[in-house]
């Protein structure tokens, strides 16, 4: 672990963010060993118990162990956010690459379509789509991704405009490489920095979005736990059952801050260090 961290460039934001997220992921991965309970296991004799030795973070209305539910709920929240991010990054990167490389009418139409999508308030559209349809985790992933790729497409497109004029791209074209090989083998790796930053920052924004949707009852459905649904369970008596909302809220904040720090750290490295200098052994 320490050897890995030593290899991370000495950017404080990046280092802190990586430590926070690695600890969080280890917590979620090894949770089954930490807690002896199952997330749906009810114990009606222990309803709304405050933190104690038997239940370190207390229990909810059904006597379910909160620590266990936060561990399993975290997997759902992070899993959904990560899947939606991968999907959004893939869609945004491909469209950005194609628009930036080919330009012309295709670019014009795509950009106007993006303008239209960005013109809608995202949260209300998502609420409408999920509210009208069958609420499932798969649908949540698809909807979150579909309304999150536009900014990435714009960022990638702007970077492709710059990279495609570089001489190494002209050299690749002069060799007679196919367009797809020029785009995906030569241009994509050279615009990967902004894509990685966007992906990390998008995860944190989608964690918040997923939590918000679950809080409103449109994300993970009971008895499945997610941080948003747990946060919601504590809203009826936030002072009397403070532990329910507090611990889920803290985990949401920690994960968002962790990913934001990683994103800022990578951004700092990209801004302040030339790629050549970074790679010199």
């Amino acid at each position: 672990m320490m050897s890995i961290l030593k290899n991370i460039p000495s950017d404080l934001s990046l280092k802190t963010g990586v430590i926070v997220i690695v600890i969080l992921i280890l917590f979620l991965m090894t949770g089954s060993f930490i807690s002896p309970y199952r997330p749906e296991l009810q114990d009606l004799s222990q309803t709304l118990s405050p933190p104690s030795r038997g239940h370190p973070l207390g229990t909810d209305f059904y006597g379910r162990d909160l620590l266990t539910r936060l561990i399993y709920g975290g997997r759902i929240t992070l899993g959904i956010s990560t899947l939606a991010t991968i999907l959004a990054i893939t869609i945004g990167s491909v469209i950005g690459l194609l628009c930036g490389f080919f330009g012309g009418l295709f670019d014009l139409l795509c950009m106007r379509f993006i303008d239209v999508l960005l013109g809608f308030p995202r949260i209300f559209i998502i609420l409408l789509v999920i509210g009208l349809g069958y609420s499932s985790l798969g649908l949540v992933v698809l909807v979150m991704a579909f309304f999150s790729w536009m900014e990435i497409a714009r960022i990638v497109r702007a970077n492709v405009w710059v990279v495609k004029e570089q001489l190494y791209i002209k050299s690749a074209q002069a060799l007679g490489l196919s367009r797809s090989r020029v785009i995906f083998r030569h241009i994509l790796p050279n615009v990967s920095g902004p894509i990685i930053v966007s992906a990390v920052l998008l995860i944190s924004s989608l964690i918040l979005l997923e939590s918000g949707l679950s809080f409103l009852g449109l994300g993970a459905q009971p008895p499945t736990a997610s941080w948003g649904t747990i946060l919601n369970e504590g809203r009826t008596d936030p002072l009397g059952t403070w532990w329910i909302s507090l611990f889920s809220g803290i985990l949401i904040i920690i994960s968002v801050i962790g990913f934001n720090l990683i994103g800022d750290g990578i951004q700092n490295l990209l801004n302040h260090t030339h790629p050549k200098e970074r790679n010199v052994a």
Partner: protein, 260 residues
Amino acid sequence: MLPKISPILEVKQLVVSYHSGGGNGHLRNDTLAVRDISFSVNPGESLAIVGESGSGKTSILMAILGFIQPAAGKIYFMGEDIRQLSSAEMIELRHWIQPVFQDSGASLNPRMTIGSILYEALRVFNVDDNRKEFIQKLLTQIGLEDGILSRYSYQLSGGQKQRVNLARAMIGKPKLIILDEPFAAQDISNQANFVNLLLNLRRDFNLNYLIVSHNLSVIAPLVDRILVIRSGQYVEEGPVAEIIFHTTNEYTKTLIDAVG
């Protein structure tokens, strides 16, 4: 395969212009970079295009390579009008014309090792020989060591980068190599070494060079004829000795005097 028709390259009345403005009701400005330039490169022959910076030399090369659409004129390669070629034919044409750009470092993908760059060219040009052996032989001919294959372009010297670009251009066994200011970033000793290398390759592989430069004295041993241009316009053209020793044109004399 393209038919072998003489001359190898023929440029007729080439005009290249760049557009600027024209939006929001403003008048569009057309800057003429190349005006009515004609020349040819015959088999076994090499040509230099010389002129001061901004005279349109690189625009001519970019038009030949298909990166700029000429405003007017024709470009024939081995008898084929390159503007009439389909995408597939253009890709095949690129096997026969290979460029070595002025900025050799910027011409190599910073995310790829030199080995990846060269092996990619081998795949593109369908070289069926033992690829490892082929690369080793090529590196020896170019004057590079095997060790550079695992390096990235920023780990090489300027001279090594230029040789890697030349090696990549050579893999497809082209008919014409276009060299854009090949000596611009080299000191005198490296210039001499590179001239010798180009002379040897020309002899061994029956290459034709189209060299763009502002340095008449260095490129003189490499070419048979020189075309002098100024502000995108024809000044004069002739055999090397005639241009360098017997020119009566004041602009050409200035270019010769500028490099001593």
